[in-house]
């Protein structure tokens, strides 16, 4: 029991120690380590947006999305074509859209932030529309049908990107996606500015999800996950609530895709590989603890931490056999990790909360203070 309670902080501390310690030990350079950590933290923040989004779908609503990559892809590409300038007809680079200049108002340095804001909203809406289209045929059926369908649509969208190379430049990738505020800072500082942006977006998403889940609406979703029939029997429209949970999660994934596209500056069909864009995010949520937003974020940190550390290990004297296969070994470890977590610690690092109600929280606090608890009024 004691060990169980200590396990979570221990894991977090060990991963944090490795993530800071290994690069510092290897480079023995303060600036280098700080730069590495800035990039690391940015990636964790972006992945945390995805795990929070997946948590809305799976952890709270119980909807089973195996095609995170599809919403990731739609969000990232939508955002990219919104902020890029129009394609140059002279060059071989071809893509649709390119509204960057049209969306830049000529005041307050508008070109540095307005298109990006619009692009994030556009990405959310595009992902949301895709979610509605997928939900209509599958959401009334067995829960694993949605899983198979989402796997399929992720693959289909990747195919379309590759085949229709006039759409978003096909397998040659879309490069040179502008970064917000890049006109004000040099590249080195911009790294930290971007870390700030990613953290701000993550914070907004986190507060939004927390608020939504602790509302009556969120409690219906939780009830749905626990027992669909009972929820239906208490007069809730199961289909509508499932749809809302699924679409909200998908829209947040679109936001994550947009932030990812700005941070990377280039995206191609290989970016949205099933392992990288779906499975890793699931691993993060499962390790962290589905049904808990803090769990989702710490899962993103732990899994991405282990993921990067494995490559750092290659700097040491590993046997050749391992060194040449480090990428595959890493894939295996993530696959094995998820099975192990499911078998040994199915609730993850930070388990689901039993009570998610702002109203009840307030009442409990009041009664603990000894204040009179007002009847049924919140």
């Amino acid at each position: 029991m004691q060990l169980n309670r200590l396990a979570t902080p221990l894991v977090l501390l060990v991963v944090a120690g490795l993530v800071i310690g290994l690069p510092a030990e290897r480079s023995r350079d303060f600036d280098g380590t700080i730069n590495f950590l800035a990039i690391f933290a940015t990636t964790v923040a972006i992945y945390a947006i995805f795990t929070l989004a997946l948590n809305v779908q799976w952890g709270y609503t119980g909807v089973f999305n195996f095609g995170v990559a599809a919403f990731f892809l739609v969000g990232a590409y939508t955002a990219a074509i919104f902020v890029k300038p129009p394609a140059d007809p002279e060059s071989s680079v071809r893509y649709i859209g390119g509204f960057g200049e049209a969306l830049s108002p000529p005041f307050l340095g508008g070109d540095q932030w307005v298109p990006f804001l619009v692009a994030i909203f556009a990405a959310a809406i595009a992902s949301g529309i895709l979610a509605v289209l997928l939900a209509v045929p599958t959401l009334r059926l067995r829960e694993d049908y949605l899983a198979i369908t989402t796997i399929g649509v992720a693959e289909l969208l990747r195919r379309i990107v590759i085949q229709e190379d006039g759409l978003v430049n096909g397998s040659r990738s879309l490069i040179g996606i502008p970064k917000p505020f890049s006109g004000y800072f040099d590249a080195d500082t911009n790294r930290f500015v971007y870390l700030g942006i990613a953290i701000v977006v993550l914070a907004i998403v986190f507060l939004l999800v927390e608020r939504a889940i602790r509302s009556p609406w969120g409690r219906v979703l939780r009830a749905l996950k626990e027992d669909e029939t009972a929820t239906a029997a208490s007069g809730k429209n199961v289909y509508a609530f499932k749809m809302q949970g699924f679409v909200l999660g998908a829209m947040l994934m679109g936001v994550g895709g947009a932030v990812f596209a700005f941070s990377r500056g280039s995206i191609g069909p290989t970016t949205f590989d099933h392992f990288f864009a779906t499975f890793l995010i699931w691993a993060m949520l499962m390790v962290g603890g589905s049904g808990n937003n803090w769990g989702a974020i710490s899962g993103a940190f732990v899994v991405w931490g282990l993921w990067t550390i494995t490559l750092q290990l290659n700097g040491y004297d590993l046997p050749n056999v391992m060194q040449n296969r480090i990428f595959f070994i890493r894939d295996f470890l993530v696959g094995a990790l998820i099975v192990t977590v499911l078998l040994l610690r199915p609730r993850g690092l930070i388990p689901e909360e039993r009570r998610v109600s702002l109203w009840l929280d307030r009442r409990m606090r009041r009664s603990a203070r000894g204040d009179p608890v007002a009847g049924n009024t919140p």
Partner: protein, 362 residues
């Protein structure tokens, strides 16, 4: 007390009832008509594509029969099915050639023992591209994969079953297993494509513009033969009866005195064996690539759901439909969209008749 007027509710209910009746009779009839039109059109106007599709479909069928049995008897979507098929193909490759990737990538290491070194094992049988070595390798790989599947069930799925986990947890575990298996194939045999037999083998010309390698005829005959064996096992043996009973209703099967643990074991054994053969047959006419396993998932699931979960005969027909539509789709779309065809079939079935051709009301 409802805000919605009663008439509206009644109207909705009757619409639902009408849709149910539609899906019961008309949709099934419609599906059969569409499938017949597809087969007739392909057989008459695109004979070579039709035959290519039947060959791919017959191999898919072996995978889909295993998948549908696991799906219904164990009650979860086995996303590791495609990757296990490829693992079976690689095990056969290893037994045949004894090759793994050495210390450096791109440089192969020969373990020094292989079926290929047996006298006469590589001598080509009839007009086929391979000798008896490959047949023995496939047969051995079948047993290896059956044992592997049972072992995997003991280590991963049985503990989950004991705990009463939901189907989603099973599916997640299966996906974890799938990625682990793929990583193991990449670690041992590397990402580059492999083939069982080196060298070029020419195809023969047949009437109606059909060009076929004898290998392909062999694949088709073996797959069809095994499907026939499966039919007898499932429909005319006590084990098969017990398996189908358990697929229909596990609790009822348990109280009727069926040893469900034993049935689960047999399901994995049969599923694993079929996976090994299907993977190896697929690899005879294509190349062995670790990534191929994941690309198989969608066609396999489309075939299973089209036929109705738990219905081996449905999975068989579903697989042929998926195979023929995939191959003949290149008349209309670029070949890059082939994997997307299975997806379109899947969505179409989910909209029209979610429980598939042979599925019964639950």
């Amino acid at each position: 007390m409802s805000i919605v007027p009663a008439q509206f509710n009644d109207r909705l209910t009757s619409l639902g009832e009408q849709y149910r009746r539609f899906s019961e009779t008309t949709a099934t009839a419609l599906l059969w008509v569409l499938i017949s039109i597809l087969f007739l059109w392909a057989a008459i106007f695109e004979t070579d594509l039709f035959i290519a599709g039947m060959i791919v479909g017959s191999v898919l069928a072996l995978g889909a029969i295993g998948l549908t049995l696991i799906y219904s008897i164990l009650g979860f979507a086995n996303f590791a099915h495609g990757d296990t098929m490829m693992l079976g193909a690689y095990v056969a490759f290893f037994l045949l050639t004894g090759i793994v990737v050495g210390e450096k990538p791109n440089i192969d290491l020969d373990v020094g023992w292989s079926l290929n070194r047996m006298p006469g094992a590589t001598a080509e049988l009839w007009d086929l591209s391979f000798g008896w070595g490959l047949l023995v390798a496939i047969a051995l790989s079948m047993f290896v994969m059956a044992a592997f599947s049972i072992g995997l069930d003991r280590v991963v799925y049985r503990p989950l079953r004991r705990r009463g986990s939901g189907i989603v947890i099973f599916a997640m575990a299966a996906l974890g297993v799938a990625f682990s298996i793929r990583a193991v194939m990449l670690i041992i045999w590397g990402p580059d494509p492999r083939r069982y037999v080196q060298g070029i083998h020419y195809a023969n010309h047949y009437p109606f513009g059909v060009v076929l390698k004898t290998d392909q005829i062999f694949i088709f005959l073996v797959a069809m033969g095994l499907a026939a064996v499966m039919y007898f096992v499932l429909f005319h043996s006590k084990l098969g009866k017990a398996m189908r009973a358990m697929a229909d209703n596990p609790d009822l099967a348990l109280v009727s005195g069926i040893n469900t643990d034993r049935i689960v074991m047999w399901t994995w054994a049969i599923g694993g064996g079929l996976m090994a053969i299907a993977g190896a047959l697929l690899a005879i006419q294509a190349l062995l690539r670790p990534i191929l396993g994941f690309e198989l998932i969608l066609p396999l699931f489309a075939a299973t759901i089209l036929g109705g979960i738990g219905k081996p005969q449905g999975a068989f027909i579903g697989a042929l439909v998926v195979g023929v539509s995939q191959e003949s789709s290149i008349v209309f779309f670029s070949a890059g969209y082939k994997p997307a065809v299975a997806f379109v079939i899947l969505v179409f079935i989910l909209l029209l008749r979610p429980r598939g051709l042979f599925g019964t009301a639950s």
